[in-house]
């Protein structure tokens, strides 16, 4: 039963490809994977927007959208209809070709990252040997599209936003990669599916061997998530579309469906990066407890992904936006040094893999200290001179 459920998507695929002659089956199965990703993540995106609005509402003591359909469940479709029926305004002075191309590219780049994410034990669209590299190669291109949008709009706010997008990309690409390198180092592969497999197994059947449950893995996950939030331009790093400063940044001159495409790309990008985070640090599709393996792996993946995205929404509901210089400073003076130290930490972890008994505790202590002490020290210099103040009163 479990095995059937686990293989269900594959069985469906085989059943469908069975209708086609042998020579084109590979094409059909490839197309099916694309269609499945588009359908699943299209729907996921639609309900993610609703969930974000509902959760944000709850964080802000209001119910969120609840009028369109029961509990507002039809809201995404109402939004889609609205976006499609709105007039598509292109400024007269805009670079029309780029203005059109930018939203298309941003969605396309957002989508191709999904190709290497293992959604389940048997569900990986393309099992590349250099999958992690592929992911980043695909991911960096999306900021290019943001730049195109900002440039093509021929608007000063959009232009400033494009510059910010570029600066942000350059700054945060490095910590993102630095956070990933320890994982690659310890699992000895760039293939996402093998990285997930490497995180299999449980101690006593309840403690999973996920990377996040090691000191270096936790630090790596921490750095990765901060950098991922910055890469996807979400609050508190939403500088390119800083509403209170740049109106809507690169989106200022977009309307209707093109605007919706940017919106979609943001959520795709967020899902993809969080998916990678889940894959690299949270054990991918692995079940958290041994006995819970009866639940199919893809369910676990989606559950973990949703949890991570919920945390991003939580952060969005709480934090305020950094300034561009603080943003770059955070990347270069905090995340990059921490990432480098964490690399050494992971190396130590790798070398001390055969320590056992009481040495195991020593190993944990050293590893934790190696990451906590720099965190405190660098954090102190970063926030030097900033503290809540006490006030006096006039007599």
């Amino acid at each position: 039963m479990t095995a059937t459920l686990e293989r269900l998507p594959l069985l469906v695929r085989d059943w469908i490809t069975g209708f086609f002659p042998e020579p084109v089956r590979w094409l059909v199965s490839g197309l099916l994977a694309i269609v499945a990703i588009l359908a699943v993540f299209g729907l996921y995106f639609a309900y993610l927007t609703l969930a974000e609005r509902k959760f944000l509402g709850r964080f802000q003591n209001r119910p969120g959208p609840n009028r369109t359909g029961p509990f507002g469940l039809l809201q995404p479709f109402a939004d889609a209809v609205k976006a499609l029926t709105k007039e598509d305004i292109v400024p007269q002075a805009a670079d029309k070709l780029l203005h059109f191309l930018a939203p298309c590219l941003v969605v396309a780049f957002g989508l191709i990252s999904f190709a290497v994410i293992p959604f389940g034990r048997y569900l990986i669209p393309v099992d590349l040997d250099a999958a992690v590299l592929y992911f980043f190669a695909a991911g960096v291109s999306s900021e290019l599209a943001l730049f195109m949008a900002g440039w093509a709009s021929h608007n000063k706010y959009s232009m400033i936003s494009a510059m910010r997008a570029l600066a942000q990309l350059i700054s945060y690409e490095l910590p993102l990669l630095l956070a990933v390198v320890p994982v690659i180092m310890l699992s000895g592969t760039l293939s996402t599916s093998k990285i997930v497999v490497a995180q299999g197994g449980w101690t006593f059947g309840i403690i999973p061997h996920w990377n996040v449950l090691t000191p270096w893995g936790f630090a790596g996950f921490f750095i990765f998530m901060i950098a991922a939030v910055a890469e996807t331009n979400r609050s508190p790093f939403d500088l390119p579309e800083a509403e209170s400063e740049l109106i809507a940044g690169h989106l200022t001159e977009y309307s209707g469906f093109k605007y919706a495409l940017f919106f979609m790309a943001e959520y795709f990008g967020m899902s993809a990066l969080c998916g990678l985070g889940v894959t690299l640090f949270l054990g991918g599709w692995q079940a958290p407890i041994d006995i819970l393996q009866v639940v199919p792996s893809y369910v676990w993946f989606m559950v973990k992904l949703s949890c991570v995205i919920f945390c991003l929404m939580w952060v969005r509901a709480t934090l305020l936006r950094l300034r561009i210089d603080q943003l770059t400073r955070l990347a270069w003076k905090f995340l990059v040094p921490l990432g480098l130290i964490n690399l050494g930490n992971a190396a130590f972890w790798h070398l001390s893999a055969d320590w056992s008994g009481p040495l195991q505790i020593v190993r944990w202590a050293i590893s934790a200290a190696v990451i906590v002490i720099p965190f405190v020290l660098i954090g102190r210099t970063l926030s030097s001179g900033l503290a809540p103040r006490t006030y006096r009163y006039a007599t």
Binding site: F55, R58, F59, N61, R62, L319, L382
Partner: protein, 247 residues
């Protein structure tokens, strides 16, 4: 340590998130068209005109004294007094318009009205399809019954009714005295070939309660639509009000 402030903030939002599911204090939204807050009695939106009795236009307390029109800060009230066929003003508004797009709901008209005839409404769902004509409220739209006034502002309306009843009582006493004193004159005047109206009221208006009312004769008798109550109360100067029948 760096991040402690952020974590505290996250804790607060988490508390509010959880609280919004069980604590009404943290989910104060009222889903408006289905559920409504009860408006406090003092709530005010736009003015309306109180009428007594059944007939909206005849029962209006308003005597077209134009006090509110003069005092209205944005000057959104427009009044034309009624005139009888001889062109003499009758104590009725012929036109009483309030431009709701101009009115700012300050209720100064209510304060200055000596006849308790203009009051603040509580209808806040005002919409019109035409922003010029549609938002001008005419006499017919503005006239609302004393019963309605009692519904929206029970305590205030009760106070007003008591006060009016008291004034009416005083006015009646005065009118009786006046009538007794002038009985002879009245009889004499009746002999003269004059139309009905002018005589008896002419004497009665003198002790009018309202100082600023343009004390002119002719209350209701010659008006084209004489209602029973007003003709009966013709000697009364302080507008035709029946005793507080509706509390």
């Amino acid at each position: 340590m760096l991040g402690s402030g952020i974590i505290k903030g996250l804790a607060v939002t988490a508390k509010n998130f959880v609280g919004s599911f069980h604590d009404p204090e943290r989910l104060p939204t009222v889903e408006y068209p289905e559920k409504r807050l009860t408006l406090p009695e003092a709530y005010r939106s736009f003015p309306f005109l109180v009428f007594d009795g059944e007939n909206a236009i005849d029962g209006l307390r308003c005597v077209a004294c134009k006090m509110c029109e003069n005092e209205c800060p944005p000057q959104c009230i427009y009044i034309i007094p009624e005139r009888d066929e001889k062109g003499r003003p009758v104590k009725k508004p012929k036109v009483f318009d309030i431009d709701l797009s101009v009115c700012m709901g300050c209720q100064i008209c209510v304060e200055v009205c000596p006849f308790d005839s203009i009051k603040m409404d509580q209808v806040f769902e005002v919409a019109a399809t035409n922003r010029f004509e549609g938002l001008i409220a005419h006499r017919e739209m503005l006239a609302k019954s004393n019963t309605y006034y009692h519904q929206i502002r029970p305590t205030e309306a009760a106070e007003v009714d008591t006060r009016l009843a008291e004034e009416k009582r005083l006015a009646e006493e005065k009118a009786k005295a006046a009538a007794a004193a002038k009985a002879a004159a009245a009889a004499k005047a009746a002999a003269a070939p004059k139309p009905v109206a002018t005589t008896a009221p002419a004497s009665a208006t003198a002790p009018a309660a309202a100082p600023a009312s343009p004390a002119k004769p002719a209350v209701a008798a010659p008006s084209p639509s004489p209602s029973s109550s007003s003709s009966a109360a013709a000697p009364m100067a302080a507008a035709p009000k029946p005793p507080a029948t509706t509390p």
